[in-house]
C-alpha cells in the first residue's frame, strides 16, 4: 500500500482579523491603541487522509472551512497547528484564471503558470499545443488575457492544471464553468487523470457532481468534520439536515 498523498492531521487554523484594519505606519503611530483582535477559528482540528488514486469531495455549508482547507493544502496559508501535507506535485485550482497576468498573452501565461506549478521550460514546450487544444481558446492564445472572456480564462486555467502531470489536484468549485460540452470534457479528463493514478480533492456544492466523481465525502461543519463516508451515505444526510442546525 502506497503512502497516502494527502494527509491532514489535527489541522487548526485561526484567522486574526483586527477590527481597526491598520494599514499605514502613520495611522499606527497616531492612533495607537491596544489591538482589538477578533479570532476566527476556521478549522478546529480536523484529520483525514486521502489514498492514492482516490477522489474525495469536501462538502459543507458556506463558512464551514472548505476553501481554507484547500488553501492550507496548497500551502497558501500556514496552519496554526497541525499539519497538512501533500506528497508529490500538487496543482491547486483554487480559482480559475488566478495567477494570469492580464497584460501577458495566453501563451506567455501558459509558460508562466506551468513553471510556477513546477514544470521546466522544456516540458512546457512539449505540451503547450495540448494545453491550447484542450482549452479551445484557439486563435486568442496570442492575445493578452485581459481580453479573454471569463469562460476562456477558466478553460485555459483548467487546461494548464490538468496538463502539468500533477500527482494531486486540488479543485475549488470550478467545474461549473464552461458550457456543457466543456464540462463533459473536464469530467473525461478527470477520469483519465484518475486512471493514471492521480488523486483529487475537490470542493463542491453541486451534489450531482459529487455523486458522479467522488469516492468519499468529507462533510465539514463549522470547522469540524461531521461525517466521512461514501457519497451515498453522506449526501442524503447532508441534504436532509435543515439550515437551522447551523446555529447550534
Amino acid at each position: 500500500m502506497a503512502e497516502s498523498p494527502i494527509v491532514v492531521q489535527d489541522l487548526k487554523k485561526v484567522f486574526n482579523v483586527n477590527a481597526s484594519g491598520v494599514n499605514s505606519i502613520k495611522t499606527a503611530l497616531l492612533w495607537w491603541k491596544p489591538r482589538k483582535k477578533t479570532c476566527f477559528d476556521v478549522l478546529k482540528g480536523i484529520s483525514f487522509d486521502v489514498k492514492p488514486g482516490e477522489c474525495v469531495a469536501v462538502i459543507g455549508r458556506n463558512g464551514a472551512g472548505k476553501s481554507t482547507l484547500l488553501s492550507l493544502l496548497a500551502r497558501v496559508y500556514k496552519p496554526t497547528s497541525g499539519t497538512a501535507t501533500i506528497t508529490g506535485r500538487a496543482a491547486p485550482l483554487l480559482e480559475l484564471g488566478a495567477g494570469f497576468h492580464p497584460d501577458l498573452t495566453g501563451m506567455e501565461n501558459i509558460y508562466f503558470n506551468s513553471i510556477i506549478l513546477g514544470l521546466t521550460r522544456k516540458q512546457v514546450k512539449e505540451r503547450v499545443d495540448e494545453i491550447v487544444a484542450f482549452s479551445e481558446v484557439a486563435d486568442h492564445i496570442n492575445a493578452p488575457t485581459r481580453t479573454f472572456s471569463s469562460g476562456m480564462l477558466a478553460r485555459l486555467g483548467f487546461s494548464i492544471a490538468v496538463h502539468v502531470d500533477a500527482d494531486v489536484l486540488l479543485v475549488d468549485e470550478v467545474l461549473a464553468v464552461g458550457d456543457y460540452e466543456f464540462e463533459k470534457k473536464c469530467y473525461a479528463k478527470i477520469d483519465e487523470f484518475r486512471a493514471n493514478g492521480g488523486t483529487i480533492l475537490f470542493v463542491s456544492h453541486n451534489m450531482q457532481a459529487v455523486r458522479k466523481v467522488a469516492d468519499r465525502c468529507v462533510w465539514l461543519h463549522k470547522g469540524h468534520i461531521k461525517m466521512i463516508g461514501t457519497p451515498d451515505e453522506v449526501i442524503p444526510l447532508y441534504e436532509s439536515t435543515p439550515m437551522e442546525t447551523d446555529a447550534a
Binding site: V17, N23, K26, R75, V76, Y77, D103, I116
Partner: protein
Amino acid sequence: MVQRELKIRYKNSALGFFWSMLNPLITVLVMSFVFQNFLSNGVPSATAYILAAYLPFTFFQLCLMDSAQTILTALPLIRKIYFPREILPIASVISNFIHLLLALVMFVIYMLAVYIIHPGQWPFQATSVFLPVLLLINFCLSLGLSFYISAFNTFYEDVKYIVGVMTYLMFFLCPILYFEERVANSPLNQAWGGKIYMFMNANPVFALSNAYRKILIAPQKIMVDKVLVDPLPLDWRYVAWAAFVSVAILISGYSTFNRLKWKFVERP
C-alpha cells in the same frame, strides 16, 4: 519571473529596452549640461564622474522603490498558488540589476565617445577590475533592503512613501553631485577633527558611490575653496565596512521576510 517582470515593463512601450538606456542617458545629459557650465568644480569631464556614481545609485533607488509593490501586485497570485515568496523581491532586484549593467555598458560607450572626440588621457584605469566586487556588495545591500521594504510595505502601505523620501535625501548625502574630497576638506569636517567624513563614509551607499567613482575613472585634483586638492586614495576599509553592513542587512532582511511571509495572505 525576471522575464515576466521585464516583459510587463516594456510590454506597452514601443521603444522597448531602449527606454532603459534612455532614462540614464537623458538624466546624464541634463546633469552634465548643468555641471559643465554652471556648477563646474573646476574638473574637466564632470559628467563622467557624476555618471560613475549616479548609475549605481539609481539602481539602488529603483530597487527599493520597486520592491515595495512586489508583494502587493502579486497578491492575487500569492493567494492562489504556493511558490517561494522570496522570488518576488529577488526578481525585481535582478531586473533592475540588468538595467544597471546595461547602463554601465552605456557609460563605457559614452566614455569611449568622449575619448574619440577629445583625445586626451585614456579614460579607464586598471582598478576597474574591482567593479564586480562593488556590484556584488551593492546587490546584497539592495536585495537585503528590498526584503525589508517588500515585507513591511505589505502591511503598512505608506512604507513606500517613506522609502521614497529617504532615498531622495540619501542622494544628497552621497558623493554623487560632489566629491568626497569636498567633504574631507570642508570646514565642518576639520572643526570636528575628521569625524564628519568618517560618519558619512559609514553609510554604505556613500562608500559605494565613492568607490565606484574612484575605481572607474582616474581621480583628479579637485578645487576646494580655490585651492587644488590632491584626490584621496580609495579607502578600502570603508568598502569592507559597506560589504559587512550589506551582508548583515541581507541576512537579517531575508530572515525577517521569511518570518513575515506567511502573513502576507492574511494582511488586513
